[in-house]
Symmetry: C2
Subunit: 158 residues, 2 copies
């Protein structure tokens, strides 16, 4: 049991959720891990209203989770890349994905995560089932599963 001194306001879970505890926000982060960089990519993949997407991307930049990087000069256009802080959300995304595989799409996971180097499956601890390596976002690719349609992924970072 908790002691009486427990303060649910001073809590890292609550603190994280203040920054990313919104469905659209985590879907934007998901799409960045899947290679999205430009506004149009995020818009097409999430299907979000443009004004909502503009707002969420702006907040994610303000919070240091994405950074704007120019890709064109006349006129200046920017793409959105995950910062290291954003890339460190990978375990959150993977844990949501694995829970969804188990309970939302049981037996028909839309995406299979595999260790790039050896092709092993990624277990619940983000460890390669084949070679035992502890895996990070740059070690893993997504292959098409039974229920879905993505064929590969990359980390959309600088």
């Amino acid at each position: 049991m908790l002691g009486r001194t427990y303060d649910s306001q001073v809590c890292s879970v609550a603190g994280s959720l203040e920054l990313v505890g919104e469905r659209w926000t985590l879907l934007i982060v998901r799409d960045a891990f899947m290679g999205a960089r430009r506004f149009e990519d995020f818009q097409r993949r999430t299907g979000m209203a443009r004004n909502v997407l503009t707002d969420r991307l702006g907040r994610l930049v303000d919070d240091g989770i994405f950074k704007r990087v120019p890709y064109q000069e006349h006129p200046v256009r920017f793409e959105y890349r995950l910062t290291e802080k954003g890339i460190d959300l990978w375990p959150v995304i993977i844990s949501l994905l694995q829970w969804g595989d188990r309970y939302v799409y049981p037996g028909r996971a839309p995406v299979l995560l595999v260790h790039k180097r050896c092709g092993g499956a990624v277990d619940d601890h983000r460890i390669c089932e084949t070679c035992g390596a502890k895996l990070g976002p740059r070690d893993v690719e997504a292959r098409q599963g039974i229920g879905g349609g993505m064929v590969a992924s990359r980390v959309a970072s600088a």
Copy 2:
């Protein structure tokens, strides 16, 4: 990059977020891991409005993440316990907690997670830094960190 066949609607991340992609919902799950079982516990810890809490707990029961268990007969009163499906959200909660420790409370984590059996710290892969065991929710307890106030936890399951 993603192939053209990518369908962001058929996605386990999105599927999970449809069930738990709401800040209050994950805070209720967090509190269950910290020992909350009764309506009043959740209400006091989250500070949620009672009608919102009633709604969220009802949905969590409907979605099979919590179950109602009677603890009193005249009148009948229920407490809320995580099901196995709910307990399997532990990696989601832990990954949010660890990200928050790093970026919201750097150097002053409110809670320290330790492996009960050996006292080792819990790494990013939910592996004990001391003995190397892969850890689940029943293997870990929360101790008071620098910034916070909780002293222990337990899994509030049947």
